[in-house]
């Protein structure tokens, strides 16, 4: 064979192989009905919360408990809603309550027009990039996943409670039946399937917004750009990935 002819033929084969492989995958092996496989390296999850939109309906609290089989009692939560009652003369001592985590809504307790500030603050695991809870786990049963979610390895947790103590946001509890630690997983079983979290799915006002920071088209970038956002306890340098817009200075 002439050298030129050989090169041409070889080039064609080289070009066709990936095409053939793709054709094989799509045609012969059945259509790819499932969404493309989830790649951890392509995602970096966080949550944005717009205080000005939260109506304290408790939908997120109820949905979270259902989705993740969090026991109704005793009063443990993966996410909960707090009500703040702030007297402008005494910013440092807000009155905070969270009856049953907001599960049943908030019975009216305050009066309008008395000069106080009243608002709701949804809370959940902040999915810190440098989590204190992960650092203290003696066995590696809690960890930051490659896509930025702080998860628990149930089969491996000893139930030693170090992480419960270490979390500055009070987001962890010991599951009363399993006796292992439990916390918000950012609905890892949902977000890796292209669904949003149960709390975002049921939030009627869009006060909660799951965001993929590695997706340039995700609206969270615009949200973080146009709003003054804050994280809770920034002085702890936890690398929190739960951003609050419209957060009052009294919120801890």
């Amino acid at each position: 064979m002439e050298r030129r002819a050989f090169l041409e033929a070889a080039g064609k084969v080289l070009l066709l192989t990936p095409a053939a492989a793709a054709a094989l995958e799509h045609g012969l092996l059945g259509s790819t009905e499932n969404p493309p496989e989830y790649k951890q390296a392509d995602h970096w999850w966080g949550m944005a919360i717009d205080i000005g939109k939260c109506i304290g309906c408790g939908n997120c609290v109820r949905a979270c408990k259902t989705e993740n089989d969090v026991p109704l009692e005793p009063y443990y939560f993966r996410t909960w809603v707090e009500r703040y009652h702030v007297n402008p003369d005494d910013q440092d001592h807000p009155e905070v309550d969270s009856p049953n985590g907001g599960y049943d809504g908030f019975p009216e307790k305050y009066r309008a027009g008395d000069g106080t500030k009243n608002f709701f603050v949804p809370k959940l695991c902040n999915h810190c990039a440098h989590s204190p809870c992960v650092q203290v786990c003696p066995v590696g049963a809690t960890f930051e996943s490659p896509d930025g979610v702080v998860l628990v390895d149930r089969t491996y947790c000893l139930g030693c409670r170090y992480c419960v103590q270490a979390c500055p946001y009070g987001c962890r509890y010991i599951h009363p039946e399993r006796q292992t630690v439990d916390k918000c997983s950012l609905c890892y079983h949902r977000i890796t399937k292209g669904l949003t979290t149960a709390c975002c799915e049921t939030c009627p006002t869009g006060a909660r917004m799951l965001g993929d920071l590695k997706d340039p088209k995700d609206p969270i970038h615009e949200f973080l750009r146009v709003n003054m956002v804050q994280v809770l306890k920034p002085q702890m340098a936890t690398g929190s990935k739960t951003w609050y817009a419209g957060l009052d200075g009294s919120v801890r």
């Binding site: 009500r83 590696g140 960890f143 799915e201």
Partner: protein, 157 residues
């Protein structure tokens, strides 16, 4: 030289002990460190798959509208347009999987509506709120179409 290695057997015994120790360590390590530990970090790689395997209970709006194609059009006409189905209907993944096995749930407006609309000073000012004692009656569904709350409910023939 000879003085230095005069008691070789001590060294050999020592080396044997070390070797045995290392062997025990390696065995224990193989036994106790779970599979996949360290693949991504100081944790078991399989824990990621475990977390992913949890069953879904809220199917998500996209699933609902695949079958109930008419509802989003109705919703669009009112202020409930941006609320996702399961915010009112509750978790219906089982129904979305197989509607013959699990029925859709029709929430009772008497219970449902006040969950969001009950007046509270901590709610944002702009959010429409009512005090059921002062509003026009407890049967919200008589006057408001749940999907298009600004409208009266359509009479069904």
């Amino acid at each position: 030289m000879s003085r230095l290695f005069g008691h070789k057997e001590h060294l050999v015994r020592m080396a044997g002990l070390f070797a045995a120790g290392i062997l025990v360590f390696l065995l224990a390590r193989a036994l106790f460190v779970p599979k996949g530990f360290g693949t991504y970090g100081h944790y078991r790689a399989g824990a990621l798959a475990d977390n992913r395997a949890y069953p879904v209970k809220f199917a998500g709006r996209d699933a609902c509208v695949e079958c109930h194609t008419d509802v989003p059009d109705a919703l669009k006409a009112g202020k409930h347009a941006r609320i996702r189905c399961e915010a009112c209907h509750g978790p219906l993944a089982a129904h979305a999987q197989d509607p013959t096995k699990a029925k859709g749930v029709k929430p009772d407006p008497k219970v449902l509506c006040v969950k969001c609309h009950l007046a509270n000073v901590a709610k944002p000012q702009g959010f429409p709120q009512i005090d059921p004692k002062e509003h026009l009656g407890p049967n919200c569904g008589e006057c408001h179409d749940p999907h298009v709350p600004g409208q009266e409910p359509q009479k069904k023939g």
